[in-house]
Amino acid sequence: MLIKTIFISILIFCSNFAAAKVDIQHWQSNNGARIYLIENNDLPIVDINVDFRAGSVKDTKQKNGLASLTNHMMVLGSGGVNEEDIANQFIDLGAQLNSSFDQDKSGFSLRTLTEKRSEAIDLLTLVLHEPNFDSNILEREKKRYIASINQSETMPGAIASKAFMKALYGKHPYALSDSGEVKTIKKITKKDLQSFYKNNYSSNDLSIVIVGDISRKEAEDLGNKISLGFPENKTALKIPLVNNNKAQEIRISHPAKQAHLYYGAPIIKRGDPDFLPLYLGNYILGGGGFVSRLTQEIREDRGLAYSVYSYFMPFIEKGPFQIGVQTKKNQVDQAKKIIEKTVAEFIKDGPTSNELKRAKDFMIGGFPLKLDSNKSILEYVSMMAFYKYPLDYLDTFTKKIDKISAEEIKSAFQRRVDMNKFSTVIVGSE
């Protein structure tokens, strides 16, 4: 029942509730980076996450893939130390370095034992401040990128996802592929990486979250140490507004046994006051795993698919509302009709009072599960930090959810979710 796992991860990503009691200390570093600390001495572990506004939205069409390659190359050698030695130094400390990347952000996280924190933090700082961007390694990694892009262009899910973002975002950089195109990757040089790094890795667009066994004083020092290596850059490229794109229906042939359907439109950005009603409503419509209307209609009642879902994925600017399903080729049009009908009914009538109560029970009763480990707290608070959520977000979350009425959900859907603007992508229909 992998389907549930998928839903859970989506919840973590784009929802945002929270926790019993997470005591967040927050301050700014000497040059404007936002630092968040959650002290917790239960385990001898320190987790650090560092996020920059340097995701693929900062790419241009000509050099699409540059943001991703920069993120990727940053962990492949720094300060003149080569990739192998850097990796081995982390390993010899028992520390783990990971990088993450999406449309909006470029992130780096470190997990270290308390006793090794000082050396591990020094290494992390080196990685962040002095990437080698070695030309030979860049050429090698470009080839790997190209191979993987070529491969993804044969995979029905990846083809559909790419076409969907293109349909929704047209000329906006959210339409660009995270990892670029074969043509654009080929053009990227070491100089491009250096200048992208210089322009987009800046202290005022930097958030650092620290969780675990470390004192405030040390956390302050670490915050300064990391952020002082980056310039303040108030002229960093603004992310353009998302215009409404025309609804499109795109069909792409593919020999796969299943057709992949994506359906939706750009709807909402981070911090939008309609987010919580839309989020809660979507749990009922298609976010809540087995208990959602879409799963009931598509999977439980008709056996049409293993997985069907909907979610709002807010970005810095308007992110997509997306419905997805995979089903046997000859069933995809039937599935599409049922999805359209289900969404239309939900927009028209909103949730029933019983549905609303159960959704609230889920959100509020399950609230402690969101923050049950250092790792989950790190992920959650990092999202809050990156998108500049208010500090009391976690404390007020359940109260806010509790107050939302069926009428508010209906109103938010009717005002914001216009099916006439939805695009459809189907890969592999008959």
Binding site: M1, L2, K4, T5, I8, A20, L43, P44, I45, E83, E84, N88, I91, D92, G94, A95, Q96, R111, L113, R140, K143, R144, A147, S148, N150, Q151, E153, T154, P156, S253, H254, P255, A256, K257, Q258, G289, F290, V291, R299, G303, L304, A305, Y306, Q326, T327, K328, R358, D361, F362, I364, G365, G366, F367, P368, L369, L371, D372, S373, N374, G428
Partner: protein
């Protein structure tokens, strides 16, 4: 459902790296075992019911039935409607999931701690009162076929893996796909699911593992209340179905739409005995070998094949020392770079093993594996779910979860010579199985 093999594949360390995991245990009168691991860091509880019933217990013509039954377990009992329990768990703020492996089927809930009885009541009910109607079955089997299409039929690497398993295991049921052959799914009936349920879902064949912010004695009392009176029945004897010795390499080619070739190669490998002693030296030597080959980005395979020579785009190695069925494999897999043939890539992978046979591994490499395991053990303590999962896996496979306590010591004991020994003994040409993916143009549809 969950392919255990893949779990083992990717994470060599976390599999098993948690010391002081010791849980408290009782056995109910009907033979059901209950293990509790307290962890009071967060007000949450994880509850899992593990059945010693997986795809290796299936017979020909009915492959996939263990997994199908997992789906049917959500379809109602004598007193609840299909899907009702999912609603109850969700309304309690809970997350639930289930997975089927070759060795077991497991069901779990994550809940705020006061809600534990919600989970126990539900699991106890569906352990004894499941209702499988023809109508619900006929809908759900379609869902499972969609799952197979999504998981295997449209994923070339998954097809390679399916073919690989069926080649390396000709007698042992590890050769059959967990999700089942499509034709078996097409011909399965609700009666097959009922038979399965009536054969394996006895409390005497189940283990409850609970972890989190709970009081052990209270959990035992609740377990007695909910599960204690469920009547047990006799579970059929299982045949070992041991794999005969392989004499000569086995090769196959799989064609599927795609751009990149890929190879999966491997050799039969010994598993750790259920007593934690038999094969210990060899099993731990292979475990450390896998760490040295592919535990991290600077491990040998990635460093030599991807980074230094750029012969491959991706590489990896995997092995599971634990297995209920008593068989395991050591595997390597790789995607070649554009101008490298799969024939050469196979040579390069074998050369990595040969280099170790000729020159051994360094103390630095051995120490790095030990350091990672020691740190990994601390990091794992951050996850209650991980602890519960580990206890359940081990106990269901027939091991004591306490064998974990010796894990680091056994890792530390491995020498370069031990590793050379297992490679020479097990990973030679006549024991090789290899499947090559031959990518085909998409063509016109």
């Amino acid at each position: 459902m969950n392919f255990l093999k893949i779990v083992f594949f990717c994470c060599f360390i976390p599999l098993f790296a948690q010391a002081n995991i010791e849980a408290q245990e009782i056995t109910l009168e009907n033979g059901m075992r209950v293990l509790v691991k307290e962890d009071h860091r967060a007000p949450v509880v994880v509850s899992m019911v593990w059945y010693k019933a997986g795809s290796i217990d299936e017979v020909n013509g009915k492959t996939g039935v263990a997994h199908v039954l997992e789906h049917m377990m959500f379809k109602g009992t004598k007193t609840t409607k299909p899907g009702e329990y999912s609603e109850i768990v969700a309304a309690a703020g809970g997350r639930e999931n289930a997975f089927t492996g070759a060795d077991y089927t497991a069901y779990y809930q994550r809940l705020e701690k006061s809600k534990l009885p919600v989970s126990m009541k539900m699991e106890a009910d569906r352990m004894q009162n499941l209702v499988i109607t023809e109508e619900e079955f006929n809908k759900e089997i379609k869902v499972v076929m969609e799952e197979r299409r999504w998981r295997t039929d449209d994923k070339p690497k998954a097809q390679v893996n399916e073919l690989f398993n069926s080649l390396i295991f000709r007698a042992h049921p590890y050769g059959k796909p967990i999700v089942g052959w499509m034709n078996d799914l097409e011909n399965m009936t609700y009666k097959d699911a009922i038979d399965w349920y009536k054969s394996w879902y006895s409390p005497s064949n189940a283990i409850l593992v609970v972890g989190g912010d709970v009081n052990t004695e209270e959990v035992f009392a609740q377990a007695k209340k909910y599960f204690g009176k469920i009547p047990a029945y006799k579970i059929a004897n299982r045949k070992p179905q041991s794999e005969p010795k392989q004499n000569g390499s086995r090769r196959a080619i799989l064609k599927a739409p795609g751009k990149l070739p890929y190879i999966q190669m491997g050799y039969p490998a010994p598993t750790l005995g259920k007593d934690g002693i038999k094969n210990r030296k060899e099993a731990f030597a292979i475990e450390v070998l896998v760490g040295i080959l592919s535990g991290t980005s600077s491990s040998r395979l990635n460093q030599n094949l991807v980074r230094k020579t750029a012969n491959a785009i991706n590489v990896g190695a995997g092995y599971s020392m634990l297995s209920r069925g008593g068989e395991s494999t050591f595997e390597m897999y790789a995607t070649p770079s554009e101008k490298v043939s799969v024939v050469n890539l196979e040579k390069y992978l074998k050369l990595e093993l040969k280099n170790i046979v000729n020159n051994g591994v360094t103390d630095t490499e051995l120490n790095r594996v030990v350091t990672s395991v020691i740190a990994g053990e601390v990091y794992q303590k951050d996850s209650v779910f991980g602890a519960v999962m580990q206890i359940g896996q081990l106990e269901t496979m027939g091991y004591s979860h306490k064998i974990i306590d010796d894990y680091i010591n056994n890792i530390k004991k491995v020498t370069s010579k031990d590793i050379q020994g297992v490679i020479k003994k097990y990973f030679h040409e006549d024991a090789l199985t290899i499947v090559t993916l031959d990518p085909q143009p998409l063509g016109k549809n």
